[in-house]
């Protein structure tokens, strides 16, 4: 079981470390990562695949608490393949 997270971040120091550290600390294993800055460079779009761990809802809530996180969407892998 795994799920996909699509996250928009402020493109500032340490932001990716903060997100990855939260994923690790909350008990999820990172399976895939893709990140690129938005055209104006102020933000970064990140797509992550992580194992299910304690579930996507809890991880999403913890990521939403990070002040550098502008938006988080969580999809099951099947749903993401269909709609993503």
């Amino acid at each position: 079981m795994s799920f996909i997270l699509q996250i928009r971040l402020k493109n500032i120091d340490g932001v990716l470390e903060r997100v990855l550290g939260t994923i690790r600390y909350r008990g999820h294993q990172l399976l895939r990562l893709m990140a690129h800055p938005t055209p104006d460079g102020s933000s970064m779009d990140v797509t992550l695949k992580v194992d299910a761990g304690r579930g996507g809802t809890h991880l999403t809530r913890h990521l939403q608490k990070l002040f550098d996180v502008e938006a988080v969407e969580c999809y099951s892998e099947v749903a993401h393949a269909r709609y993503g």
Binding site: G14, R18, T57, D68
Partner: protein, 550 residues
């Protein structure tokens, strides 16, 4: 104006009246600007104490506590204090000097990646790379520290940023974010659950005090007539004379509290987080209960326990909406009877000081303007069990991190937050040694902290666990070669006294309550005394152990 001077003025604009810190190379421009500051700087003797004093100040005052350190070891010495504030949701802003930008990343002298080191133990952190960002960063740091669920924020300041010239205009202070209200339909569901419950119980935590919701919480208890248990951090939420307050729940909780939790059919959780020390075996915690959970932090809702009605938002609107008279007389009588049946007994056969009785006596005599700051260990649990708090911010304790060495610096912070209150640090001989250097800070500023040092010449809680769960094999818990603490205190210029006999308990209380200025009371207690009751690891909260007292 340079960045350092701006920073001092920005702290003044944020309403800072005292900061705790220690200077060093990379923070020297700030310390130079500090000479013109309108707020006080308290020079501690170790940076960890600066962070913990800021924590104690913040808990008592409800304002942001500020601590300051230089780069490298100064910054790393803050780490325990920041983690402590993170685990207990305390608003602290830490300012750290950093090596100049041009040498960052070169392993320069006293350079460490403090931003990286502290990422998991702060609510947020900033590295200031452009002087023009500094006004917004300071405002944002203070806003983040207190908004929603509070926590620590770190600002790392390279030395060149502190020295850089900046425009004089200050950014207007932004309003803090509004606290969301819980959804109306969820409140209706919660009210329906409350109305149909036969054995409802409140389980309240530190969130009540942090939300400024103590009086609405007490009104909620008065209107509903709900029995209530609290966490370690929730002690003081209920009025001391509330006869439906059953005590602290959990590992060293009161028997009546733990039995009530196991019997209840509805648990109303108010600003608490199902911490493992509170729940015991989670799968068997409150096994018959549905759950209403009020919390500002969405990440806590359903994190460890399925919740029938999550109420995310400010506590006050939820408490007011659910203040409904309830027809639960039989349950109330049952809870009161349990409280009487399982009340603590202070009779002890020995001739020495019995620490629970001493703390109980202190509680009875201290009145409503006394703050107790605890260290960590057996004495911390005895305080929680035997001292009745009038307000949650009268009880400073390291609940989440369990930081030995917390008590004395936090008590110092409390003295600056509430100078009209008496502040007593209750410590053990293990914990006290962890920040004993702060006796020098007490002396320098004549900070009137009274220290009650309960000395059992060992690491009592670890020793108790080794006795109970490791076949009595004692490993590295003997502290019988402690220094003479009264002479240590005298060497720092702090008056001291030593007590050891049961008949001296009354004099001890008098000394703690009547002495002006700082004081150390060195109380020698029985090294074999244990904290009872105890829920052993892996057991549910109804499976409490209790042993004999000596």
């Amino acid at each position: 104006m340079n960045g350092a001077t701006f920073l001092v003025k920005a702290l003044e604009r944020e309403g800072v009246d005292v900061v705790f810190g220690y200077p060093g190379g990379a923070i020297m421009p700030f310390y130079d600007a500090l000479l013109e500051a309108e707020f006080r700087h308290i020079l501690v003797r170790h940076e960890q104490a600066a962070a913990l004093a800021a924590d104690g100040y913040a808990r008592v005052s409800g304002k942001v506590g500020v601590c300051i350190a230089t780069s490298g070891p100064g910054a790393t010495n803050l780490v325990t204090g920041l983690a402590n504030a993170m685990l207990d949701s305390v608003p602290v802003v830490a300012l750290t000097g950093q090596v100049p930008s041009v040498v960052m990343g070169t392993d320069a002298f006293q350079e460490v990646d403090v931003l990286g080191i502290t990422l998991p133990i702060v609510k947020h952190s900033f590295l200031v790379k452009d002087i023009h960002d500094l006004p917004a960063v300071v405002h944002e740091a203070f806003r983040i520290a207190v908004t929603g669920r509070p926590g620590p924020v770190l600002i790392d300041l390279p030395k060149d940023i502190q020295n850089a010239e900046m425009p004089p205009n200050l950014v207007p202070r932004p309003d803090h974010m509004p606290v969301p209200a819980p959804p109306a339909d969820s409140l209706q569901q919660a009210a329906a659950l409350l109305a149909e419950a036969r054995r409802p119980l409140v389980y309240a935590g530190g969130g009540v005090g942090m939300a400024g919701a103590v009086e609405p919480f007490r009104e909620f208890l008065a209107v509903t007539g709900l029995p209530v248990v609290t966490t370690l951090k929730g002690l003081g939420n209920a009025r001391p004379d509330n006869d439906l307050f059953l005590g602290m729940l959990g590992m060293h909780g009161a028997k009546a509290a733990n039995y009530a939790v196991q019997e209840c059919d509805l648990l109303v959780v108010v600003g608490a987080r199902f911490d493992d020390r509170a729940t015991g075996k989670l799968a068997e915690f409150a096994p018959k209960a549905k759950v209403i959970h009020m919390d500002i932090d969405a990440a806590e809702l359903g994190k460890l326990r399925e919740t029938q009605v999550p109420l995310r938002g400010g506590l006050i609107p939820s408490l007011r909406a659910l203040s409904i008279p309830l027809d639960i007389d039989d349950w109330r009588l049952h809870c009161k009877a349990m409280a009487v049946e399982h009340a603590y007994d202070y009779a002890a056969p020995g001739k020495g000081i019995y620490a629970p009785r001493l703390l109980h006596r202190l509680s009875q005599a201290a009145g409503d303007k006394t703050i107790i700051s605890c260290d960590v260990g057996q004495h911390q649990m005895w305080v929680a069990q035997h001292y009745r708090f009038h307000q949650p911010n009268h009880h400073l304790t390291s609940g989440g991190l369990g930081t030995m060495g917390y008590g004395l610096p936090a008590a110092m912070g409390a003295c600056y937050a509430a100078p009209d209150h008496r502040v007593i640090a209750v410590s053990g001989d293990g914990s006290f040694m962890m920040n004993i250097q702060e006796l020098a800070t007490l002396k320098r500023y004549n900070i009137p902290v009274k220290i009650l040092l309960l000395d059992n010449s060992c690491l009592g809680m670890v020793r108790q666990w080794q006795d109970l769960f490791f076949a009595g094999r004692k490993s590295q818990v003997d502290l019988s070669d402690n220094p003479d603490f009264t002479r240590v205190a005298e060497a720092f210029g702090i008056p001291s006294m030593q007590v050891r006999r049961a008949e001296e308990e009354s004099d001890t209380v008098d000394a703690l309550l009547q002495t002006e200025g700082p004081l150390l009371v060195h109380a020698l207690i029985d090294p074999t005394e244990n904290v009872w009751p105890l829920v052993p690891p892996g057991a549910n909260n109804a499976q409490m152990m209790e042993g004999a007292r000596t």
